[in-house]
């Protein structure tokens, strides 16, 4: 039995790099090592993401992986999530109360004086299906193809991907390349707002409201396509260390504006005169480099596994970002572990990001006050505790704290904004329970 177990482990190890590099993170070779061929391995998880005073999301995943005798791997994943709560609409806080029209045009909401305007009608349910087929093509070359479908009330996304991985140097080195293509269709309730047009505010029960609101709309739906190229190289350094290097190039074309976001237009004192719908360019090219190292320490260091990665991303919107992600898997006893996690993220603002617009400024083509494309630092701190139960099933719980700190990237604030929080922090708690069987 020990011999069979070792053989399975060895086989799993040989293809670790391959599966990791296939770019899909679904070829869970390591997870199926405890199972015999032709048996399904299931990974399930429920995650609760909750921001203070803002969005709450619940997300459930069930992923099944089946490995066939000839090393073919089928992975199917079903995800469902539900969002509810409030989301920042892009407008700035004011010394007095502000009234906004809901994106659907049905009714309005009032933001009290001094508070960040939040659209409280933010809710959606999403269903997602993923399928991935991975198999050896010829000796040392593994291929993988996959599909993606996700549907929300107002959003449809379809995607395909294909990947090739080549192992060499006794399978200590793996070179891989993957392509993916997504097509998304967005049909927001209330239609697509006319870029840079003024948000209509008034009596939404009046007979003229619908026709006046329609003048701020340019259609019912928009779409976008995303094509990604991912090139990777994995290298086993020693018995205790493995490294990975990726480069990715991503082209997004189509509707990249957020139809729910507006920008405050202020007078020179800083008081809101108008709120206009944002407008972003209709294409974006993102590139990133990613590197990761994992190291298995010896008994003197508790047999800990350190996982450290760094990503540098840049795009033609003027955004660049640094992400450092570290995890330390520390065995506790024979069948459990604790895994502290620390993530640091920093991004610069898009060229067209402005937290507000001052009246009579020169004409603009593109503008967004969405803090998610503004200058920001974010930190995630947390830990996961896992225990292996009888039969090899694993139960784990993860608890994390996510803290976003938007920063002003040099915009002078008019007097009326003094003392108001124009770049509020966002705090969120992440709780996840996982069970693998």
């Amino acid at each position: 039995m020990a011999c069979i177990g070792n053989k399975t482990n060895l086989k799993a190890a040989l293809s670790i790099a391959t599966s990791a590099l296939l770019g899909t993170s679904v070829a869970t070779t390591s997870q199926v090592q405890a199972k015999d061929a032709d048996e399904w391995q299931f990974d399930t998880a429920y995650l609760l993401y909750s921001e203070v005073d803002r969005v709450t999301a619940g997300e459930a995943i069930i992923a099944g992986t089946k490995t066939y005798a000839n090393d073919e791997i089928l992975n199917l994943k079903f995800t469902v999530d539900a969002l509810t709560g409030s989301s920042a609409n892009g407008a700035v806080a004011q010394p007095n109360a502000q009234t906004f029209t809901r994106p659907s045009g049905n009714g309005q909401y009032v933001t009290p004086a001094g508070e960040t305007p939040l659209d409280d009608t933010f809710q959606d349910t999403r269903v997602q299906l993923n399928g991935q087929w991975t198999q050896p093509l010829v000796e040392n070359i593994t291929g993988s193809v996959g599909g993606h479908f996700s549907k929300e009330y107002d959003y449809l996304s379809l995607g395909v991907n294909g990947n090739l991985a080549y192992d060499f140097n006794k399978k200590n080195s793996t070179f891989s390349m993957g392509l993916s293509y997504f097509h998304d269709i967005f049909t927001p309730e209330g239609g697509i707002p006319k870029p840079l047009s003024s948000m209509l505010v008034g009596d939404s029960s009046s007979p003229e409201w619908d026709s006046e609101f329609a003048k701020t709309r340019v259609g019912d739906s928009e779409d976008k396509s995303t094509a990604d190229i991912l090139v990777g190289f994995t290298q086993v350094i020693s018995r205790r260390m493995i490294t990975a290097f990726n480069y990715s190039y991503s082209m997004v074309d189509g509707y990249l504006t957020d139809p729910f976001k507006v920008v405050s237009v202020l007078n020179t004192e800083g008081l809101v005169q108008d709120n206009i719908y944002e407008n972003r360019p209709d294409s974006r090219v993102k590139q990133s480099t990613f590197m990761q190292a994992k190291y298995h320490f010896d008994e003197g260091m508790l047999n800990m596994v350190a996982d450290v990665s760094y990503r540098y991303m840049w795009d033609d919107w003027g955004i660049n970002s640094h992400t450092i992600d570290t995890r330390f898997n520390i065995p506790v006893g024979r069948a459990s572990y604790i895994e502290p996690h620390l993530r640091f993220y920093q991004q610069s603002a898009a060229d067209f990001f402005k937290p507000f617009l001052i009246e009579d400024q020169s004409s603009i083509d593109f503008i967004s006050a969405d803090y998610r494309i503004g200058e920001m630092t974010a930190v995630t701190v947390g830990a996961k505790y896992g225990v292996v139960l009888t039969g090899g099933n694993e139960l784990s719980i993860r608890l994390e704290y996510y803290h976003q700190m938007p920063t002003n990237s040099g915009f002078a604030e008019p007097a009326a904004l003094n003392g108001l929080d124009t770049a509020p922090v966002v705090d969120a708690i992440i709780v996840q329970v996982s069970y693998s069987f």
């Binding site: 990791a20 899909t24 997870q31």
Partner: protein, 85 residues
């Protein structure tokens, strides 16, 4: 004269060869030595040593950060897939 300069040149070339070739060999050997033999993969075979040790965690994290930050992908495809805000 020619013989002498040629001798010096040859000596220098030989010295350079003596230094460069072993250095190159050591480097090449070091490259070839990166990695392990198949029977040395006991630690690398452990689940926690997989580059993505928990794909489910990774998928959930990707969804969170895709929705809340301007960056996505890098380790795997960034993709489209949701209108989440």
């Amino acid at each position: 004269m020619w013989l002498k300069s040629n001798f010096i040149k040859n000596t220098m070339v030989n010295k350079a060869k003596k230094i460069i070739i072993p250095t190159l060999l050591i480097n090449l050997t070091a490259c070839a030595n990166l990695g392990v033999e198949p029977w040395e993969r006991d630690l690398l075979a452990k689940k926690e040593m997989a580059l993505t040790s928990s794909p489910v965690d990774a998928a959930l994290d990707d969804h969170i950060y895709f929705s809340k930050e301007a960056s996505s992908g890098g380790k795997s495809f960034g993709g489209g897939g949701c209108g989440c805000n």
